[in-house]
């Protein structure tokens, strides 16, 4: 019997702990498919964040390193500078990358570290139970903005792709979404391109993936997908910010 669809080899055959309707599972699959298709699992080293994906070192079949909160780009720098022939990726959420790890991501991008960053933006802290993230939208209710995020008090959401695109370092930056099949396919292409940019030695690549958090948003999975489309994309427009013409 022919196998026409299977789990990627780069994913371990273990149960994941993510909540129903959370898009981490899809994002993991896209990363693993890219690793499989590019045949790089044996030389790939992934860096796990602090946040809901803290233990995805158990899910990816390549060598994995668990990093402190926000420090994954610095850890990745240490690995990549030690093993220039390896493929190094970080997998980070919005609290990890855009709050506590702002310095590390900005400088890794500025140095054009030849690494790939998978950035999960779901506008909230998931693991610690729904606090305001740097990407939380204005008016959004979280456990630390119970009356909605007020710009005059808590400031404005950070647009990571746009901010990093002002630097000369990055080779490729794209924002994608997982809210429907068409966009998942686009996201897959972006993730694969990011790895190809690294393989070609072009420098820093980052894919921001607009994602869901049904549990902490208080929405069901279908409503969550709609929120990504109707509320997040208007504030976080999809598209390529750096490297649109880059052929790899």
């Amino acid at each position: 019997m022919a196998i026409i669809f299977k789990a990627p080899d780069a994913l371990c055959d273990v149960p994941m702990h993510y909540c129903p309707g959370c898009t981490h599972g899809i994002a993991h699959r896209l990363v693993a498919e890219a690793i499989d298709e590019l045949e790089i699992e044996g030389k790939t080293i992934g860096i796990s964040p602090v946040g809901c994906a803290y233990n995805n070192y158990l899910y990816f079949n390549c060598d994995m390193i668990q990093a402190a909160h926000g420090r994954a780009p610095a850890v990745a720098t240490g690995v990549k500078r030690s093993l220039p022939e390896s493929i190094v990726f970080t997998y980070q959420g919005d609290g990890d990358l855009a709050a506590i790890g702002t310095a590390e991501i900005v400088h890794a991008a500025a140095r054009s570290e030849n690494i790939t960053v998978i950035f999960i933006n779901n506008t909230i802290y998931g693991m610690t139970s729904g606090q305001m993230a740097p990407t939380t939208l204005l008016g959004q209710v979280t456990t630390t903005t119970p009356y909605g995020r007020d710009a005059s008090y808590s400031g404005f959401p950070i647009k990571v792709c746009e901010m990093l695109a002002t630097l000369e370092g990055p080779a490729y930056i794209e924002r994608v979404s997982l809210h429907d099949i068409k966009n998942i396919k686009k996201a897959k292409a972006a993730v694969k391109k990011a790895f190809k940019v690294q393989i070609a030695g072009k420098g820093f690549s980052l894919v921001e993936i607009l994602s869901t958090c049904p549990t902490n948003w208080g929405l069901n999975p279908v409503e969550s997908m709609k929120r990504v489309e109707n509320e997040m994309i208007p504030h976080y427009p999809l598209g390529v910010f750096v490297g649109a013409d880059l052929e790899v």
């Binding site: 990816f60 402190a68 420090r71 610095a74 850890v75 240490g78 690995v79 500078r81 310095a103």
Partner: protein, 354 residues
């Protein structure tokens, strides 16, 4: 044969690291240790190594975490306020059991403090400046030759036990110039790092470097393993110098540059007919309890001298455990105790124990 050179302490640390096979250095500038960075910036490209100036001490220690996870010999250096910033990474390195060498050329604190020499980071270095039940090996050289030898040794110890080793010096040691005799070749232990996350090449299961274990029963087992390792290190790696201890009325206890001042005190006292000895801990963790057992019956009292408010003296008291009186004298804030300061305390103790 070897090579005899006049060099500054900080530069010797950098040169020794390269000789020990360290090809990865990540740092951030801070006085009084920045010459280590300068030397690395110049030399690493010439030996095919990596020197990288990080955006912060926090980033630098996490780059160390990355390179160590990849199985490489790696070092960072800083001074007191910078070492405080590195504590997060230090705790993670301890939790993930990674070998790495960290240099702290201490200056006066707390806070931004000053830039003059101090020994006030003893607690931070030996008791765990970061969170969790962890230790690291702490080496306290007292001269430029020892900075060389111990930096090489630090890499071997780190690899051997999968542990961090700190070179704990002070501004005097970092800035002083002395003659150093380099060996032609270093004894670089070749230690298996099959645990490293360096790409499995489709030849083995994937390696995972981590410090998180949410199941408390599992985390307890990890901690028990750490403690067993620290016990083994305590048995195997104590280093110390006993100087002039036979028939000493009072035995001084001092490490690093202060131990050199104490040797001056011993000489001065001898001229006055007073017999003093010195226990010089070279490893601060493991604390050289064996040294004290060897001399415990000799003196009337022990006098610990530090450039701090009295930190190591607590370990001396724990070790002596009431068997002999233990006194302390020291200076703080970057002030260096003089022979006269110490002699005054010696006379005071002598008077008390006539």
């Amino acid at each position: 044969m070897g090579q005899k050179l006049l060099m500054k302490g900080n530069e010797v640390i950098a040169e020794a690291a390269i000789r020990a096979g360290c090809r990865h250095y990540f740092g951030y500038p801070i006085t009084p240790q920045t010459e280590i960075m300068h030397y690395m910036a110049k030399k690493m490209p010439l030996v095919g190594g990596v020197f990288l100036q990080a955006e912060s001490e926090v980033a630098a220690i996490n780059m160390v975490y990355g390179a160590a996870s990849a199985g490489k010999r790696v070092m960072t250096s800083s001074s007191s306020p910078g070492i405080s910033l590195k504590q997060e990474g230090i705790s993670y390195i301890a939790g993930a059991q990674l070998p790495a060498v960290i240099v702290n050329i201490m200056r006066g604190g707390p806070g931004l403090g000053g830039i003059q020499p101090s020994q006030s980071d003893y607690f931070q270095a030996t008791k765990g400046g970061g969170h969790g039940d962890y230790r690291m090996v702490v080496l306290a050289p007292a001269g430029v030759q020892e900075l060389y030898e111990m930096t090489v040794e630090a890499f071997n110890i780190s690899d051997r036990y999968r542990i961090m080793t700190m070179i704990l010096g002070d501004g005097v040691l970092g800035q002083m110039m002395e003659v150093v005799n380099f060996r032609d070749e270093e004894i670089v232990e070749d230690i298996n790092k099959s645990w490293a996350a360096n790409g499995h090449d489709n030849k083995r299961e994937h390696n995972m470097v981590t410090s998180i274990h949410l199941d408390p029963a599992v985390l307890e087992q990890w901690n028990i393993g750490f403690q067993d390792k620290y016990k083994l290190i305590s048995q195997n790696e104590q280093r110390y110098e006993l100087y002039n201890c036979e028939d000493a009325e009072i035995i001084l206890v001092a490490y690093g540059s202060v131990s050199r001042i104490c040797k001056g005190v011993i000489k001065e006292a001898a001229e006055q007919g007073i017999k003093l000895g010195l226990v010089r801990p070279i490893t601060l963790f493991p604390f050289p309890v064996d040294a004290f057992e060897k001399v415990i019956n000799i003196p009337k009292a022990f006098l610990t001298v530090e450039m701090s408010a009295g930190q190591m003296v607590e370990d001396v008291k724990i070790t002596i455990n009431g068997r002999k009186p233990v006194y302390f004298t020291g200076r703080m804030g970057g002030m260096i105790p003089t022979v006269k300061d110490i002699m005054t305390k010696v006379m005071e103790i002598k008077e008390k124990h006539r």
